[in-house]
C-alpha cells in the first residue's frame, strides 16, 4: 500500500497568512495513505528539503506530496531532493496551494484552507498512481549539419567546428559566402564586406572539422534529435574538383555568355564559371542549362583547354547520406520583386534599379568597377533618389512586415554614393527611419549631415520620364507639399523575403513556417533559435529579417545549442512521454495522424507469443515524443498512456475531490 508523505509549506507568510496550515495538515493526516504530514516555514530551503529527505527514510515513503508554490517554480528542486533521498524523483507531486489558493483567496481564509486541503488530497491521490520514471537517454551522433553557407551558416559551422565537433556544411550554389559576399561595405562602420568575410570562408574550407559540400541540397531528413540521417543531393558540376586547380583557363575560353546572377545581371558570366573571384571552393562549375556541349553535344572547349582533364560531361547528380545529431538551418533571404510598383516604372525605366544592383555597382570588385552608372546610357548619375519600404510594410502590394535593414543600407548607399561621386546629390523618401542598434542612429545622422542627403518623409506617388531624366513626384509630409525631383537614377530599397523553397524545406525537416515562409522558432522570445522539433535550430534571415550582427549572434547561439546537445554521449530527456501497450493497440493509426512530431510509427508484432502471423501496432519514438498527450486522448482503446499524466492519475485526481 502506498505510503505518502505530505509536506506543507508556509512560504513565510505567503501561504500561512491566508491558509490555516496546521489545520490543513491535521485534515490531510486523516487520509489513509498519508503516513506522515508536516508543515515548515520554507520547504524549499535546505532545512526544509532535509525534512523531506529524513521523512522518506524514516517513514519508508513511497511517494511525496509537497504543498507549496506552483510546480512551475520548484518542481525541479523537490524532485532533486526526493531523488537524493533515494526515491524516484517522479514519485513527487506538487500541490499548488500558493498560486491557486492562498494568493487568490486572501479574503476568505476558511475557503482557502478548505481548497488547500482538497488540492493536497488530489495530489496525494495522483501520487498514489505515480510510477517510477527514468530519464530517457538517447545516444547522440556528434556531427552537425548546417544548411546554407551564407554568413549565418559560416559562423555556425566555424563555432561548432571550433568545439571539435564535425560539421557538414551544405551550400546550394557553387560557392559559400551568400548575400554578404555581394555587399560592398557594411553599416554602420563601413568596413569592407569581402575583407571581413573572405577570411572566414577560407577558414571554412580549410577547417579540419568542416566538410564543405557546395553545389548541393538537402533532400531528406529522417530520425530525431541526436540521430538524424540526412540525404544530400550533390548536383552535377561536370568538373572534377579533386583534379581542378582553379586556374580559370576554362572560364576564359568558354564561348557562352549568360547574365551574371552574382552581379544582379548587370554583366555576363560564362557557362562554365566561378561565381566570384574569391569563391570558396574556387572551382568552376558548368551551368547545364546554357552549356553548348551538354545541350547540343557541340563545343567541348573547356575540356580541351583543361590541362588536368578535370572536365567530365558525363557527371550525374549524386545522393550521399550523412548521419548527424543536430541541424542548423541558415538558408538566408531573397529579394522581393518590385514589379507591382508600376507607377515607379519598374521594368520600364532602366534607371530605376534595386538596392542590391546599386550595391554591386558601388562594389570595387563589381561589374562597373565601383562606380554607379546609369544602365540606360552608362553616364554617372549626379542626382539619385532612394525610395525606402518598397514592398515592406505594404499590405496592399507587398508584405506586412518591416524588412528591418533597409533604413540602414539606404543610409549606407547615400554615403557610398557621396564617396564615389563627390558632386552627387541624394534624396531619400522614407516612411520612418528605424535605426535602433549600436551606432545606427549616428550612422543615419552621418548620412544626413556629412553627405548632405535630403531625407523626405513621404511616399513617392509617381515616377515619369522627362528627356533622359526621371521625374520623381512625391509628398513631403512634413511640409505638406508635393515635391518633384529631377533624378538621374532611382534606387528602390526592396524588401527581403524568405526563399520560395523554405516551405518545402520546412516540410522536409518536419518544422513549421509562418504565412510568409519564414521558418518558425519554438518560442518568439524565450526560444528564438530552436524550432519546435528538437535538434533543429535557425540562424539568420531564414527565421526573420535581420542584419549581419544579429545573424552572426544567432548563428553563434545555434552553435552553443548544438554544442549543448553534443556535450555528453547521450541526451537526457524528460521521461514524461507516451507509451503504447501493444496488447490493447488495434493498429488504427489515428495516433500517427494527430502526432505533431511524427513521433509515432508502426511495428509488426506476433499475434500471440511465438506466432508467425503478425499484426500492426503503434510504436512511439522516445527520442522524438515531446509528451503532449494528443495521442493518448485519441486512442480509443486506451493503448497509449502518457507517463506522468496517465488516465488513472487524472481520474484519481477527479474522484478525490
Amino acid at each position: 500500500m502506498a505510503r505518502v508523505g505530505v509536506f506543507v509549506c508556509f512560504c513565510g507568510a505567503n501561504i500561512a497568512d491566508f491558509v490555516d496550515v496546521p489545520a490543513v495538515v491535521e485534515e490531510v493526516k486523516k487520509i489513509r495513505e498519508v503516513k506522515y504530514a508536516v508543515y515548515y516555514k520554507y520547504m524549499c530551503s535546505d532545512p526544509g528539503q532535509q525534512i523531506i529527505k529524513d521523512a522518506i527514510a524514516q517513514y519508508r515513503l513511497t511517494s511525496v506530496v509537497v504543498a507549496a508554490c506552483s510546480p512551475r517554480m520548484h518542481e525541479k528542486t523537490f524532485r532533486r531532493a526526493v531523488s537524493e533521498a533515494g526515491l524516484n524523483p517522479y514519485l513527487l507531486e506538487i500541490a499548488n496551494i500558493r498560486e491557486h489558493s492562498s494568493w487568490v483567496h486572501q479574503k476568505n481564509k476558511k475557503a482557502a484552507t478548505e481548497k488547500a486541503g482538497d488540492l493536497i488530497r488530489m495530489a496525494v491521490a495522483k501520487s498514489i498512481a505515480n510510477e517510477q520514471l527514468h530519464e530517457i537517454s538517447v545516444p547522440v551522433t556528434k556531427r552537425a549539419l548546417v544548411i546554407g553557407g551564407g554568413i549565418a551558416g559560416i559562423q555556425a559551422a566555424l563555432d561548432i567546428a571550433d568545439a571539435h565537433i564535425p560539421v557538414v556544411l551544405v551550400e546550394r550554389s557553387p560557392s559559400i559566402g551568400g548575400r554578404m559576399a555581394q555587399l560592398d561595405e557594411t553599416f554602420p562602420t563601413l568596413d569592407c564586406s569581402q575583407c571581413i568575410l573572405t577570411p572566414k570562408m577560407v577558414d571554412v574550407a580549410s577547417h579540419p572539422y568542416i566538410e564543405l559540400i557546395p553545389y548541393s541540397e538537402v533532400i531528406g531528413l529522417e530520425g530525431y534529435v541526436g540521430n538524424y540521417k540526412a540525404k544530400i543531393k550533390k548536383k552535377a558540376s561536370y568538373v572534377n574538383f579533386s583534379l581542378c586547380t582553379g586556374c580559370g583557363a576554362c572560364t576564359q575560353k568558354c564561348p557562352v555568355k549568360v547574365p551574371n546572377e552574382f552581379n544582379m545581371g548587370i554583366d555576363k558570366r560564362k557557362a562554365i564559371y566561378t561565381p566570384f573571384p574569391q569563391a570558396v571552393p574556387n572551382k568552376p562549375v558548368i551551368d547545364a542549362e546554357h552549356c553548348n556541349m551538354l545541350l547540343k553535344g557541340k563545343c567541348g572547349i573547356c575540356s580541351k583547354v583543361c590541362e588536368k582533364g578535370a572536365i567530365d560531361y558525363t557527371m550525374k547528380d549524386e545522393v550521399i547520406e550523412r548521419e548527424i545529431g543536430a541541424v542548423v538551418v541558415a538558408t538566408g533571404y531573397d529579394l522581393w520583386d518590385p514589379k507591382p510598383y508600376e507607377e515607379y516604372g519598374v521594368g520600364r525605366f532602366k534607371d530605376v534599379i534595386t538596392s542590391l544592383e546599386f550595391e554591386r555597382m558601388v562594389s570595387a570588385s563589381g561589374p562597373t568597377g565601383g562606380l554607379p552608372i546609369r544602365p540606360s546610357d552608362g553616364k554617372v548619375p549626379k542626382t539619385v533618389v532612394f525610395i525606402k519600404c518598397i514592398g515592406s510594410r505594404d499590405e496592399a502590394k507587398g508584405i506586412e512586415y518591416c524588412s528591418k535593414i533597409c533604413c540602414m543600407y539606404t543610409a549606407k548607399h547615400a554615403i557610398l554614393l557621396h564617396h564615389k561621386v563627390h558632386d552627387s546629390r541624394a534624396y531619400v523618401f522614407y516612411m520612418d527611419v528605424r535605426a535602433a542598434g549600436k551606432g545606427y542612429e549616428e550612422f543615419v545622422k552621418r548620412a544626413q549631415v556629412e553627405t548632405g542627403t535630403t531625407y523626405l518623409r513621404g511616399r513617392v506617388s509617381k515616377i515619369y520620364k522627362m528627356g533622359d531624366k526621371l521625374m520623381v513626384r512625391g509628398e513631403d509630409a512634413q511640409l505638406g507639399q508635393v515635391v518633384e525631383i529631377e533624378a538621374d537614377m532611382v534606387v528602390l530599397a526592396t524588401a527581403i523575403i524568405p526563399y520560395k523553397t523554405n516551405p518545402a524545406l520546412a516540410r522536409l525537416l518536419g518544422i513549421s513556417y509562418d504565412k510568409y515562409g519564414y521558418l518558425s522558432e519554438a518560442h518568439p522570445k524565450l526560444r528564438p533559435v530552436e524550432t519546435a522539433k528538437a535538434g533543429i535550430f535557425l540562424a539568420g534571415c531564414t527565421q526573420a529579417p535581420k542584419d549581419i550582427p544579429d545573424t552572426v549572434a544567432q548563428a553563434s547561439a545555434c552553435a552553443a545549442k548544438v554544442c549543448g546537445i553534443f556535450s555528453g554521449d547521450a541526451l537526457k530527456k524528460d521521461p514524461m512521454i507516451s507509451v503504447v501497450n501493444p496488447d490493447y493497440c488495434s493498429g488504427c493509426q489515428n495516433c500517427v495522424q494527430v502526432c505533431p512530431y511524427q513521433a509515432i510509427t508502426t511495428e509488426e508484432i506476433p499475434i500471440t507469443r511465438g506466432s508467425k502471423e503478425t499484426r500492426t501496432v503503434a510504436k512511439i519514438n522516445e527520442g522524438v515524443c515531446q509528451g503532449c498527450g494528443s495521442c493518448a486522448a485519441v486512442c480509443r482503446s486506451m493503448a497509449i498512456s502518457l507517463k506522468g499524466f496517465t488516465d488513472s492519475q487524472i481520474i484519481n485526481e477527479i474522484v478525490s475531490i
Partner: protein
Amino acid sequence: METQEKEVKGSVQSAENPGLTAPADWQPVIIGILCNWCSYAGSDLTGTSRIQYPPNIRIIRVPCSSRVDPWFIIKSLQATADGVLISGCHPGDCHYIAGNYYARRRFLVIKNLLNFVGYHENRVQFSWVSAAEGAKFAQVVAKVTDDIKKLGPLHRYKKENF
C-alpha cells in the same frame, strides 16, 4: 469574494432536477483542467498578481488541452463536480503546435452531446487563457462559478448510492 458573503435567502434549485434543492449558501465544486504551458501558467500569474477569484475551482494540470479526453469531463460530472472548466492555449499558440485545434473539435461535440442528454450547457465551459492573461483567468473562473451557482447542484447522472 463579496458575492459569497452576501446573504441569500431561500434555496438553490438544480437546473436539471427542479425538485432537488440545496441551501442558499451552497457552494459548487468545479473542476478545472488546465494546460501546462498557457492556462496553468496564466493561473499562476493570477496568483502572483494577487487577483482574487471564487474559491470553488479545483485545478488539474495536463500538458496540453489535447490531452483532455472527453472521459475526464464525463467522469468529473459523475463524481463530485457541479461544473467543469477546461482551458488551453489560444488557437495558434499551442506549445505542441496544433494540439488545441484537435481538442477544440472534441470539445464542441462533447459540449453539445452533454447538453443534448440533459446537462445544462453551462455545466461544462471552455476558455483559452494565455500565460499572460492572469486577469482573464480570474474573470473566467468568476463567470463559471457564477453560472454554476445559478444552476444549483448537479444531481443528474451522479454516481448512485453515495
